[in-house]
Symmetry: C2
Subunit: 204 residues, 2 copies
């Protein structure tokens, strides 16, 4: 009979309803200002109902965290059209910062905040999203080395270094730690820094 299937569908619809409301509020207002009560208000259900579909607030935000990675993966895929792997690496690296600037709240959830990552630490889950993006980077780095475009070194070390650099610059900017520079200076310096840094990895 189709009743249980409809019920399953309705359950999923309700989850989506909650998640969409939560996502919209989160992107607008951030994590702290998106309360369970406000989400419940928005979808016109009681706060208790939300707990029938999500274990706790962290689980909701882990789901949003995943949506952020989906957005990021879609952006990453657009680099595939670039022939030269090193140019592709440069483009990917630029995209990373663009993504963070355009989706600061997502970036927060994905790479800075503890909340969503603790949801899976508790559940003994892997950080699949992160692994996927990281493997994309590693494969690209390997390709660069194989084609003799990049200095030979341990791929893990190179990936860790480049990601660290990119994340550091991004998160310092997002979290307002470049107060020693004006907004225009920051923009200019970040671009120059990225160009210089990746050039250090180029085989000459």
């Amino acid at each position: 009979m189709g009743i249980s299937e409809r019920k399953e569908r309705e359950k999923q619809e309700m989850r989506d309803l909650i998640l969409n409301a939560a996502t919209a509020m989160f992107i607008e207002e951030g994590y702290d200002k998106t309360s369970i009560r406000k989400i419940a208000d928005k979808i016109e259900y009681s706060p208790a109902t939300i707990y029938l579909y999500f274990k706790d607030k962290d689980e909701i935000f882990h789901a949003i965290h995943d949506k952020g990675f989906d957005k990021f993966f879609a952006l990453m895929e657009t680099t595939r059209s670039i022939e030269n792997p090193f140019d592709r690496l440069i483009r990917l690296s630029d995209l990373y910062i663009d993504f963070a600037y355009e989706n600061p709240e997502y970036y927060d959830l994905m790479f800075i905040m503890m909340a969503p990552i603790e949801a899976l630490t508790h559940n003994n889950e892997d950080w699949t999203c992160g692994f996927q993006a990281y493997n994309f980077l590693k494969a690209l780095i390997k390709e660069c080395m194989d084609e003799g475009l990049m200095k030979e070194m341990d791929v893990e070390v190179a990936a860790l270094s480049i990601w660290s650099f990119k994340h550091g610059m991004t998160s310092l900017a997002i979290r307002n730690r470049f107060k020693m520079y004006s907004e225009a200076e920051v923009k200019k310096l970040m671009k120059e820094s990225c160009d210089m840094m990746l050039d250090l990895f180029r085989k000459k």
Copy 2:
């Protein structure tokens, strides 16, 4: 008369009492778990009293943020004994990570969290602590270049790049984003990555 002086002294003592209690709790439990009410409980005063000495929670944590920088400055000074500027840069860079690992809560306040930096954004204050540490780094980089130990480049760009790299690695580690590696692997890769990265800046 000395009454107003005693009053001033007592006021400062009370501020210190609050700050010391807050700092101890913060280092033990972190920002979120250190509530105004718990601080008040610890020092055996009412929560409202704390608001006679600090504008809000952010102001307390900005004061702790400053204490963190004092700790960091003291550590930075220990590098002065190293003759070779580039070796000094390497040591400073290692110290940065050591500090973050040994004082993760302080590091949080200093370089990741919004709370303390927003306290001064609202008061139109400079981020003096940050400027000071950054100038130390820039002066050191300039010295390295002047002595022909480091590749010639814009000092601002070099400083921004090195700090970004260091902060990125540190904060990804602290915020549990290196789940693709075991603890031992992370330690090893971070060391290798730091060595490799700074070596890229070395003039050969």
